[in-house]
């Protein structure tokens, strides 16, 4: 269960309304693949991931990043029921994709870094705190159906 105060909820939705989901998703996923190269293991079919420029410019990375962030946005709309919202995705990541849930925490932290980079001063410690709660909640929800 993620407990966001009213102020935190406002801060998060306020900032999110300014997020360019198309760009931020691709950037977050790209940075994950560059900074934590073992995460590339899930993306053999994506083509050239041989260096940072190749990863960040890769069309499949950008497209998949957008997909991931769209899913995350669903979580934002359903903060009170993250486990329910991500139940199907959790089963998928366990049974079909075989992704170690630790990687969800890594991606959450990369997303926080990307948001900080984009929003600068606006990404105050308080706003970061709210997003950390959210990303941890989503990561936990995605791991919930693992067996």
């Amino acid at each position: 269960m993620v407990h966001l105060t009213a102020d935190e909820k406002n801060a998060v939705t306020g900032l999110w309304s300014k997020v360019k989901v198309d760009d931020v998703g691709g950037e977050a996923l790209g940075r994950l693949l560059v900074v934590y190269p073992w995460t590339q293991r899930f993306f053999d079919s994506f083509g050239d991931l041989s260096n940072a420029d190749a990863v960040m410019g890769n069309a499949k990375v950008k497209a998949h990043g957008k997909k991931v962030l769209d899913a995350f946005a669903e979580g934002l709309k359903n903060v009170d029921n993250l486990k329910g919202t991500f139940a199907k995705l959790s089963e998928l990541h366990c049974d079909k994709l075989h992704v170690d849930p630790e990687n969800f925490r890594l991606l959450g932290n990369v997303l926080v870094v990307v948001l900080a980079r984009h929003f600068g001063k606006e990404f105050t410690p308080q706003v970061q705190g709210a997003f950390q709660k959210l990303t941890l909640g989503v990561a936990t929800a995605l791991a919930h159906k693992y067996h």
Partner: protein
């Protein structure tokens, strides 16, 4: 295994750019850590942790000095950080998982202050540097 040459070069270059302001960023990183990961405050019950606190600023400067020491000894971090490792292990007894939390918040702080410089490659180099520091700090634990 020491930090790769390319990572060392990137970290040194960034540190030259940060100049005498490292303390500003480590203080902000501490502030972010306390807010985002409240359990970390348990180690600082003796300090005034309110935003703008002089004590947090002083502690931020200590962290900055330690990181600058690390940057000056990238080829031999375990030896350079041995005294700090002993301190954290035996006297302060800080759970080493917390070093990663501060490291993450330092990355967030640098990303927010230097968006143009904070390329994926620099992020990767910094992340690896901080993990080496964390590892060296945790080396005396048991």
């Amino acid at each position: 295994m020491a930090l790769a040459a390319a990572d060392q070069a990137a970290v040194r270059a960034l540190w030259r750019k940060l100049n005498n302001n490292v303390g500003v960023y480590t203080t902000e990183a501490l502030e972010r850590t306390f807010l985002a990961f409240p359990s970390t405050k348990t180690y600082f019950a003796h300090l005034d942790l309110r935003p703008g606190s002089a004590q947090v600023k002083a502690h931020g400067q200590k962290v900055a000095d330690a990181l600058s020491l690390a940057v000056a000894h990238l080829d031999d971090l375990p030896r350079a950080l041995a005294p700090l490792s002993d301190l954290h292990a035996h006297q302060l007894r800080v759970n080493p998982a917390n070093f990663e939390l501060l490291g993450h918040c330092l990355l967030v702080t640098l990303a927010r202050h230097y968006p143009g410089d904070f390329s994926p490659a620099l992020q990767a180099s910094l992340d690896r540097f901080l993990r080496h520091v964390t590892s060296a700090l945790a080396s005396s634990y048991r």
